[in-house]
């Protein structure tokens, strides 16, 4: 099939890197010329940063910041409008008894649930994110992916979470992956584009680094680890590699791009480890929902429980947070 990219459809690659995407060969050379990632080294660094002890005020701040970064997600075959409305309500008032509790960043749903979410969140600052492009496998034609994306945006999605074509990536057809991301970016219009790399299928950190740069070159606003449907989903070291990529991207282009680990982050303790990584690997300016998100469903309740523990000075229990 032919590419649907048009020259003006997506922002151009920033000047220092413009040559990189000139043709298939240049792109391959660039991606394979990126420094390798040593598995043991990156995993050790992630583990070492994971031993940071975040207490007291820092912990309070981290929990609230983490809540404000959650993309509260439901991506099930059994999703209903009722379920989505319930989720939206939770997004707006994560802890009904604590008005000072921050709202989450977004609600993340399938395209056909976008309308219901938009309705429920109307007038609030909580965004609606929609997965698209034949989520989660992406094994469909580009026409369908583009239509899927347009539909989500038409229904009012503020953010689009696309999946890359891992098959094409693993075959080494980097230009096809690049073109497709640009096409989806163009189809997303004003909506922010998060590019899901599905790192669990990319197998190596070298691939994660290459896919990260590919997505950044193609104009992705965020790079996202996982669909949540493949194991392993987000891990700390994978997120380290991606945070390093956005840090380096900023060094080279001056542009700020975001990172979203998704899937498998269930506890406040884990979330704080991710925030420490954001702080120390990417840099302080990434500590905002504009540049860092958690794709999660159960994480929010643990954050809320821990928030209560911090505020009340004693442990809370699952019956004190809402379950939808």
């Amino acid at each position: 099939m032919t590419t649907t990219t048009s020259p003006n459809a997506a922002p151009d690659t920033p000047a220092p890197l413009a040559d990189v995407t000139r043709d298939e060969a240049s792109l391959r050379r660039f991606l394979h010329g990126l420094p390798g990632v040593d598995q043991v080294g990156v995993e050790q660094r992630a583990a070492a940063l994971g031993t940071r002890s975040i207490k007291k005020d820092a912990k309070r701040w981290a929990i609230d910041t983490a809540i404000s970064m959650v993309d509260l997600t439901t991506l099930e075959g059994a999703d209903t409008r009722g379920k989505v409305r319930g989720l939206a309500a939770k997004a707006l008032r994560p802890d009904p008894e604590r008005q000072d509790c921050p709202r989450v960043a977004a609600v993340c749903v399938y395209p056909d649930m976008v309308e219901a979410a938009v309705d429920a969140l109307k007038g609030s600052a909580v965004h609606v994110a929609s997965v698209a492009t034949g989520f989660p496998s992406g094994r469909t034609s580009r026409e369908v992916k583009l239509a899927d994306t347009r539909l989500a945006v038409e229904y009012g999605a503020d953010e689009v979470d696309m999946v890359i074509d891992r098959g094409a990536f693993l075959e080494g057809r980097y230009m096809d992956v690049f073109d497709e991301i640009r096409a989806i970016k163009a189809a997303s219009g004003e909506a922010h584009l998060k590019v899901i790399l599905e790192t669990g299928e990319l197998a190596t950190y070298d691939n994660v680094r290459r896919a990260s740069w590919l997505a950044l070159l193609a104009g992705g606003d965020f790079i996202k680890t996982s669909t949540g449907k493949v194991s392993p989903a987000a891990t700390l070291p994978v997120t380290h590699v991606m945070l390093q990529a956005v840090h380096d991207w900023h060094e080279q282009t001056g542009e700020l791009r975001g990172v979203k680990p998704a899937g498998g982050i269930r506890t406040a303790k884990d979330a704080i480890k991710y925030l420490v990584a954001v702080h120390e690997v990417a840099g302080e300016q990434w500590l905002t929902p504009d540049l860092f998100r958690f794709g999660a469903s159960s994480l929010l309740n643990d954050l809320l429980l821990q928030r209560r523990t911090q505020v009340d000075g004693h442990y809370s229990g699952p019956d004190y947070v809402t379950v939808d």
Binding site: D38, Q39, V40, G41, E43, A203, T204
Partner: protein
């Protein structure tokens, strides 16, 4: 004219003995020679009397030869050392007469010492490509790493050869240096240098690269301190020094943290098959780590 007389009492061609440095046979830089006699005081030859500058030159030659010799395959080193044994065997009669003359032994006793010296080369020749697997290791470390330890040659070794055992003792202290891949500056027995000189000729014609072994004839007491304090010598075997001198030498050697062999006060009997201890003294353990990952 005296044609007829000449055939009856031919004047032999006297040999001028020299040093063996860097594969060549120079005279001592000092120009000095000293008379060598047998134990009964009968004159045997004049030998070059090496000076501290000869030590200096020999160390330069040994250092220059070190990368090639230490970098050669262990198999190749084994071949070369075995070739030394072959060449020695070829000149067996000459060694027997020199050992007999030098040490004042009956020919049969000298024969058995020469045979033992030949066998010692063969023994060490066989070690070159086995020592790493015997002394090396894969280290089972507690982490995602491949860690291994390999023995590597120490470098340039100063050897004060035994004073009594002119050939077997010499071979017993030199061969382990070479087998491990180090290079040597040897000071031969002062009173009994002839087998060492002939051994130099064997080494020079047996594929041993020039500079790997350098043989100086002279006094251990005079040359030892220059080797012990030399900044480019990594190890010292003080066997040929007196027990009192060995203490001084060991102190000198501390200035550059040299490896100094501990040797028995009295020169040992060299005939039993050695163990690995001498070979081990001239080897450094190098441990290498690399992560295991994809």
């Amino acid at each position: 004219m005296s044609d007829s007389k000449q055939s009856e009492s031919r004047i032999s061609v006297a040999k001028t003995y020299k040093l063996y440095i860097g594969g060549a046979f120079p005279r001592s830089e000092s120009g000095r020679v000293y008379p060598v006699t047998d134990p009964q005081g009968k004159f045997l030859a004049n030998a070059a009397h090496a000076s501290r500058k000869d030590v200096r030159d020999a160390v330069v030659a040994a250092r220059k030869a070190f990368p090639g010799w230490s970098g050669a395959t262990a198999y190749n080193r084994g071949q070369v050392l075995y070739r030394v044994a072959e060449m020695l065997e070829g000149r067996r009669e000459q060694f027997v007469s020199e050992v007999a003359a030098s040490e004042g032994l009956a020919p049969s006793q000298a024969e058995s010492l020469v045979d033992a010296a030949i066998d010692r080369w063969v023994w060490y020749a066989g070690w070159t490509d086995k020592i790493a697997s015997v002394l090396g290791a894969a280290n089972p470390v507690a982490g995602p790493y491949f860690s291994f330890t390999v023995p590597e040659p120490t470098g340039v070794v100063g050897v004060l050869a035994p004073q009594a055992s002119s050939l077997l003792g010499l071979v017993s202290v030199l061969a382990p240096v070479l087998a491990g891949g180090s290079t040597a500056v040897v000071v031969s027995s002062a009173e009994r240098p002839l087998p060492a000189i002939t051994l130099s000729e064997v080494l020079a014609t047996s594929d041993l690269p020039g500079g790997v072994a350098n043989v100086l004839t002279g006094r251990a007491a005079e040359l030892g301190p220059w080797l012990a304090s030399h900044g480019d010598v990594n190890a010292l075997d003080p066997t040929g020094a007196t027990p009192e001198d060995r203490i001084t030498l060991a102190r000198e050697a501390a200035g550059t943290v040299k490896r100094v062999l501990t040797v028995p006060d009295a020169e040992p009997d060299w005939t039993p098959t050695p163990d690995l201890s001498r070979l081990r003294r001239y080897l450094e353990a190098k441990t290498v780590w690399h992560p295991l990952g994809v």
